[in-house]
Amino acid sequence: MNHTPEAPAAASQPTAPAADSAVPKIQIRGLTKVFGDKVVLDGIDLDIQKGESMLVIGGSGSGKSVLLKCILGLLHPEAGSIKVDGEEVVGLYGDDLERIRRKFGMLFQNAALFDSLTVWENVAFGLVQGQRMARDRARGIAYEKLAAVGLGEDVGQLTPAELSGGMRKRVGLARAIATEPEIIFFDEPTTGLDPIMGDVIDRLIVDCVKQLGATGLSITHDMASARRISDRIAMLYKGKIIWVGPTAQIDVSGNPYVEQFINGRAEGPIQMEVRAL
């Protein structure tokens, strides 16, 4: 709980906080997901240690979102294993799956706020519906979390349709942390925001994760954001993890795919499927 305003700088520590011998918070082995003829995930192996902030980069359509949805049990993989705290998630359903999901919070790409509810009801949703907390108590916590992401009391009564993109992201973040989850997923947290708001959201993410002592898993293709919020980075290409390493070493990875991606060059081993007119 010793977070400081300079928390983003702390995020670039090269090593994972947890020891290698400990049971990983999330352990993925041989994860395979197929849509029709297309193999989206092709035998993924990935360990995420407790308390670290892991980030997955990769081009559009490389299967980043599918990976998150498989871990959450929203999609069912064809093969492989996903263990959360050593407990197998693949094949779980009903109450067992809901019990595992209580460990997770998620910030969706477009926030995915419920537009039939007010902002505070959105933030309190996991407490009221998921944990059966009394509405009055949940409302107090919701306003606390809104304050934590820099939103005042007046915003709580608005509906999501009345919010700007940056405010929606903040509310989405407040909702993701409201239940104080052990693991938080961030799906392209800065997409669609201006660079300054992107930095604000990144700082909030780092602060919130550190404060909760949570484990983070993010996906993005925004490299500036990636450097700010992650301890370690994994790169996904054609359904496989082709590189994993500490964030500080991303510039000296020696991997031509990673170098092309982080420098944003059209020329290189990664060929975009663009057909000439």
Partner: protein, 257 residues
Amino acid sequence: MPILQPIGRTFLVFLEATGRLSLFTIMSLSHCLRPPFYPRLVLRQMIEIGYYSLPVVGLTAIFTGMVLALQSYTGFARFSAESAIPNVVVVSITRELGPVLAGLMVAGRVGASMAAEIGTMRVTEQIDALDTLATNPFKYLIAPRLIAGLTMLPILVLIADIIGVFGGYIVSTQKLGFNPAAYLQNTWDFIEAQDVISGLVKAAVFGFLVTLMGCYHGYNSRGGAQGVGAATTNAVVSASILILSFNYFITELFFAR
């Protein structure tokens, strides 16, 4: 065999859709019966389906009753059977026109809006968000709508029955010269409990079908605005066809001798 291929493919697609719909129905029903329940959401859907559909269903019923009296009169006058008009109106309204027309109107009003709302929630990841917040979308979104549809349509149809008979009464007494007291007496003497009950059973089935189709197509919509549009169309068309076909089977169940 290039001719057989498309036939086989269509058949397989049909079987797959039937299987998916059956599984969806079983899942929805099982979640209707198991806690946690959401009484506030059920109440909100009841108001949406029952109360807000009253004007449109009432208007449909009154004009149907009126035109029924008028048409029967022109037909029956040819063989001096005008006195049968109260009987024809009450039996047609309670057995057939009340439930079928109310079902179709609710399919257009409620089925479409359900498919659009749930479909938009699907494509904007709100349904995934429900899952991640440890709330089952079947319990939170679908069960309240099915329960409300199942219970509110019979009440709507009962009201439509009364308004429809009243429509026939107005035309018969004001335009065709019937004695008001005799008309009502005739109606009351002729009507049987089974006429009304069969209509209400139909209404409950239609209410279930309309909300099921709205939820099913919305829940399975894909691919943005176009997908939501297609889901809305499919919900209304499939609900309407199911209403008309189930109408025949329920009628046969009640009245075939």
